[in-house]
């Protein structure tokens, strides 16, 4: 790479030029950064503005460009000069000019001092130049991944995922522990409608699906096979499976987890007669009876002429499953039809809490409602008992008829719910330092779901994508779409690895954490704090990074006390130097206080931009630096700020807790812990712990920003200047 030549380009449009002492600003920058080129332009984002920069790139050999103008969130495409030119944006429009509130400082005695806004702009440009100087050209980690996708589970979801990936051109290994493919779907008599007009139950189509999978030349089916171990990382997993007594090792790129569900343990539903009354069965058992053509009372083999369906059996119930299994209302409507189709005189009762047939499934509900032999009512079950003649008595109250009801039926069917297979069994068997399972957030009752509404395939273990009923209770129609979605994500992961790029949410990022092990003290913080379990370690505790498991949040970098970890364009020392580039007034009465504000670039930073667009103003004491995630905040940055004489450090990041919004799951929460931990050392140095604070902010809370900042500064002013100022 040729020598680094930095160009600084300052836009004077959008009120920037009107409010700055440009002579002072450029004078400072020239003196402190001596860039090869420095220019001003009244409309830098115009074609002419960009052309001027291009001219310098071609003519002067400028290869690092600092754009001092608007936020990097706008005009992003104008300032793209190809991969050989590094660009850094100093956001002097939103973060300085537009949001600037004059601090009413005394007139400077010294003629050399510029006004506070010009000082602020100088700081931002200097930080931008420092960042550029410390940035290396991103270097991708080359890897030739295995392009084979492993699908775990051979039910409807797994079959669809396998076909989806194979039809797109990828090799698939489908692993099923039973001796046959098809899962629950293969045991069904009929399936609830999966296509328009959604009014009739359908013959199961899983047979077709199995034939397609078994006949596909890109799919290798392993039935009666148990997963033993998944070692390694996406793109280069070594997976051990065992069929009978034989073990084999497979090279796998990514994984679709589609191991589905199992029925809730009905033996716990004694209060509804299960296990005590022979003619009380579960919905799963009824399905088998129907498939075998034996709709008979278990007690005496007499044909079933009446049945009562008890919905939410052991569901929506804090004593059992607190959630709703989504599909049981549809299932019971379908099964009520089984009773009716054998015998026109037969009667079915469905006792529900709420009839949940959302969306187009309403069509099926309406169709069943038209059947005069099926009686449906909201109700509370009071008692299930036997009458001595083989009939089961079901007593219900709070019905829609306004009266209590007792029916005597041949069969009671309990609509029991779904329990994900991974709830109490480490299905995945990952050979990861942080455990063999997906980390359980304890939010989804064991389901492998995402906590992001927007990103249902977000996973806490890169390269492993859950689909179907192991992720959420869902119908077969939904599972088919879900399987396709998970197959796409598993393919996308491989293609990203192929190009040496990160996956969501920093998709396309070529940088990755590099470890300078010479300094490592084996403290294990990086390994243990990584929200994605990307790091393993050896016996001594030396971390073993796995780049393809990594999501580039920098949490490891933030955790490391020894600056072992850095990215080509993001490091502890880079931020330290940026902090050092801020000029801290020696006397707060003349120059004001100085506060560093580290801002999560995903949510808090856009909120700042919008606050400024909405013409909010805040204290001129603050200097913002956008960072990948609060998880990447290293306490050395705090130490650096305090030793440079800054009066406080404010961290703005995402909400944490159950409804966390951090895109890296734990970043803001971990940062908060770190900040708690540095309180004591600060106090020991006679520095108030409250000088360092973290605030949670959502992207739409832009109107709260001025108050958060101003309140913080008011608090700092209460403590007075940093006692180490000027040392």
């Amino acid at each position: 790479m040729a020598d680094n030549k930095t160009g600084v380009y300052i836009c004077t449009g959008c009120e920037i030029g009107d409010n700055l002492n440009m002579e002072k600003v450029t004078g400072y920058i020239d003196e402190e950064c001596s860039p090869a080129v420095m220019k001003q332009h009244p409309f830098l984002c115009s074609r002419e503005g960009a052309e001027e920069i291009k001219k310098d790139i071609e003519g002067e050999g400028v290869n690092k460009v600092c754009i001092a103008a608007c936020s990097p969130r706008v005009m992003w495409d104008v300032f793209d000069f190809g991969p050989d030119v590094l660009v850094e944006r100093a956001n002097i429009r939103e973060l300085a000019v537009w949001s600037f509130r004059n601090p009413e400082l005394p007139e400077p005695e010294d003629d050399e001092m510029a006004d506070p806004l010009s000082m602020m702009v100088r700081d931002y440009i200097r930080m931008g130049v420092v960042r550029l100087e410390k940035t290396d050209y991103p270097e991708r980690e080359p890897l030739e991944p295995s392009n084979t996708i492993m699908v775990l589970g051979g039910g409807v979801t797994g079959l669809n995922a396998a076909l989806g990936a194979a039809d797109t051109g990828y090799d698939v290994v489908l692993v099923e522990k039973e001796d046959k493919l098809g899962g629950f779907a293969a045991k069904m008599y009929r399936q609830t409608p999966t296509r328009h007009p959604y009014t009739e139950a359908q013959a199961p189509d899983v047979g077709d699906l199995i034939r397609k999978v078994e006949g596909h030349d890109k799919i290798k089916v392993l039935t009666k096979t148990e997963l033993q171990l998944i070692k390694g990382a996406p793109g280069k997993y070594k997976v051990t499976v065992k069929s009978g007594d034989e073990e084999q090792e497979l090279s796998i790129g990514s994984v679709v987890l589609a191991t589905g569900w199992k029925p809730y343990d009905a033996s716990r539903l004694g209060h509804l007669g299960y296990g005590k009354i022979k003619n009380v069965v579960t919905n799963v058992e009824l399905e088998t009876m129907a498939k075998e053509g034996k709709l008979q009372r278990p007690s005496d083999g007499m044909p079933v002429q009446s049945a009562a369906f008890i919905q939410c059996a052991g569901q929506r119930d804090p004593e059992h499953l607190p959630y709703c299994s989504s599909v049981c209302c549809m299932g019971s409507l379908k099964q009520a039809k089984y009773i009716r189709e054998k015998d026109d005189e037969a009667r079915a009762f469905i006792f529900y809490k709420d009839m949940r047939t959302p969306g187009v499934y309403e069509n099926y509900y309406r169709q069943v409602q038209d059947d005069p032999g099926i009686f449906l009512t909201k109700s509370e079950i009071q008692e299930v008992s036997e009458d001595g003649n083989g009939k089961v008595l079901v007593k219900v109250t709070d019905t829609l008829l306004g009266e209590d009801l007792e029916v005597a039926v041949d069969l009671v069917v309990l609509a029991t719910g779904m329990v994900p297979t991974i709830a109490d069994d480490p299905v995945l068997k990952l050979g990861y330092r942080l455990g063999e399972q997906l980390p359980d957030l304890e939010l989804f009752n064991g389901f492998a779901d995402s906590n992001y509404i927007c990103f249902p395939y977000e996973t806490r273990r890169t390269g492993i994508y859950a689909a179907g009923c192991v992720r959420q209770p869902m119908s077969m129609g939904t599972a088919k779409d879900d399987a396709a979605g998970a197959a796409l994500k598993s393919i996308q992961c491989l293609e990203s690895i192929n190009r040496g790029l990160a996956v969501h949410p920093r998709s396309g990022d070529p940088t990755y954490p590099k470890f300078n092990m010479v300094r490592c003290t084996q403290c294990k913080r990086c390994t243990e704090e990584c929200p994605f379990g990307a790091l393993d370690d050896d016996e001594k505790g030396t971390p073993e990074p796995n780049t393809t498991r990594c999501r580039r949040c920098g949490t490891c970098m933030g955790a490391c006390p020894e600056r072992v970890i850095s990215f080509d364009n993001y490091s502890v020392s880079m931020l330290n130097e940026m902090i050092g580039a801020v000029q801290v007034p020696e006397d707060e009465e003349e120059g004001g206080y100085r506060i560093l504000c580290l801002v999560c670039e995903n949510d808090a930073y856009p909120a700042l931009d919008i606050a400024a667009m909405r013409k909010n103003k805040w204290s001129a004491s603050v200097r913002f630096i956008g960072i990948r995630c609060l998880g990447s905040v290293n306490t050395q940055w705090i130490a650096e700020s305090m030793s440079k004489g800054m009066d406080g450090v404010l961290l703005l990041g995402c909400k944490y807790g159950d409804d966390y919004q951090c895109h890296f799951i734990k970043g803001s929460e971990l940062c908060n812990k770190r900040m708690d931990n540095i309180g004591e050392p600060l106090e020991r140095l006679q520095v108030e712990a409250e000088r360092v604070q973290q605030k949670q902010i959502c992207i739409d809370e832009y109107d709260k920003i001025p108050k958060i900042i101003d309140d913080f500064i008011e608090e700092i002013e209460g403590y007075g200047p940093n006692p180490y100022k000027g040392f």
Partner: protein, 415 residues
Amino acid sequence: MSNSSILVIGGGFSGITAALEAAEVGHEVFIVEQEPYLGGRVAQLKHYFPKLCPPTCGLEINFQRIKKNPRVKQFTMAQVTRVSGEPGNYEVKIKIRPRFVNSNCTACDKCVEVCPVERDSEFDFHMGKTKAIYCPHFMSFPMRYVIDEQVCEGTACAKCVEACQYQAIDLEEKEREFTLNVGSIIVATGWKPYDVSKLTNLGGGQIPNVLTNMQLERLAAPNGPTDGKIQRPSDGKEPKRIAFVQCAGSRDQNHLDYCSYICCMASLKHCTYIREQYPDAEVVIYYIDLRAPGRYENFLNKIQEDEKVLMVKGKVARITEDSTSGDLVVTAEDIMGGVKKEETFDMVVLATVMQPSISMNGFALDLPRDESGFIIGGEEKGIFPAGCAKMPLDVMTSAETATGAALNAIQTVRR
């Protein structure tokens, strides 16, 4: 040889998701969106259920993904006018309506300061105003202003042209058309709220203090017409008693048969908006069934714990207005109590049904549709519906179907 590019019609959450998921596998993707911004319906929401997080958070990540990915190209104010060809090789005509503001726009807002014309904001469902030149909304992507051709006085005024220092405004911009070649198409045209003026017994569109659920979203949203304050449209009064009418136009043979999937959860979410602002306010939800499937049950439980929220199983027969006070008299049955009652409220929210946003005819693609207009086929043509173009869905499931549609589209272009 197939063309490996993919067209995505609709730049709402499903369209953006489908486009990004395909582009991150390596395919070139074109998003065609008719509004001046991407984000669709979710951009109008304050929060998602059940997490109560702002949709702009996920949109921002997706916009960053778009910005970083040269394979995604998006066209706003654009419409597909004609499609010809076959799976693997489609020729698509795109029409772009004039925005009158070009990419020079720096969002400096000087034009808005001088524009003399006001208009009702469609984004705010006519509850707020913008100038004839306006920023689509604060989180708009692209962040570029737009002129409403219907109300702008054009070159006769041109004050904005004068105020703009960046030659960003061209009042004589014309509609233009161009052609794209793609191998496969994803239709993510989304939904629109049912026309509530058809709900005459509920005062839909007639009584000012009877709102739709989407209007309530805008009232509660921080970038809404009241900066997030929930108040009565008629007099700005803080509502103390609010009723929700579930299935307003859905599960109803006089209107739309199907269930709209999200309205129960949306109303439960709306309870949180109201109760957060007004700790003393009382809410009554009139419902047929409380549909909180799967883990949404937890959210229902949380709202049920709120003593100020009462859930009544029963249909609302009629809403009338007391014209002096602006209060509303709701006549509804309480099935479990076995009574029919009249109750007075300050504000009523109709949990309005979603219907497909594309009309039955007048859409450039001839695809099988159901009686309500949802797309129920197209696979054999290499055309795949995603999200609410296909059926009523929540955001999470829309994203799943969009990701699945991306896979199907890729399969088509790789054949």
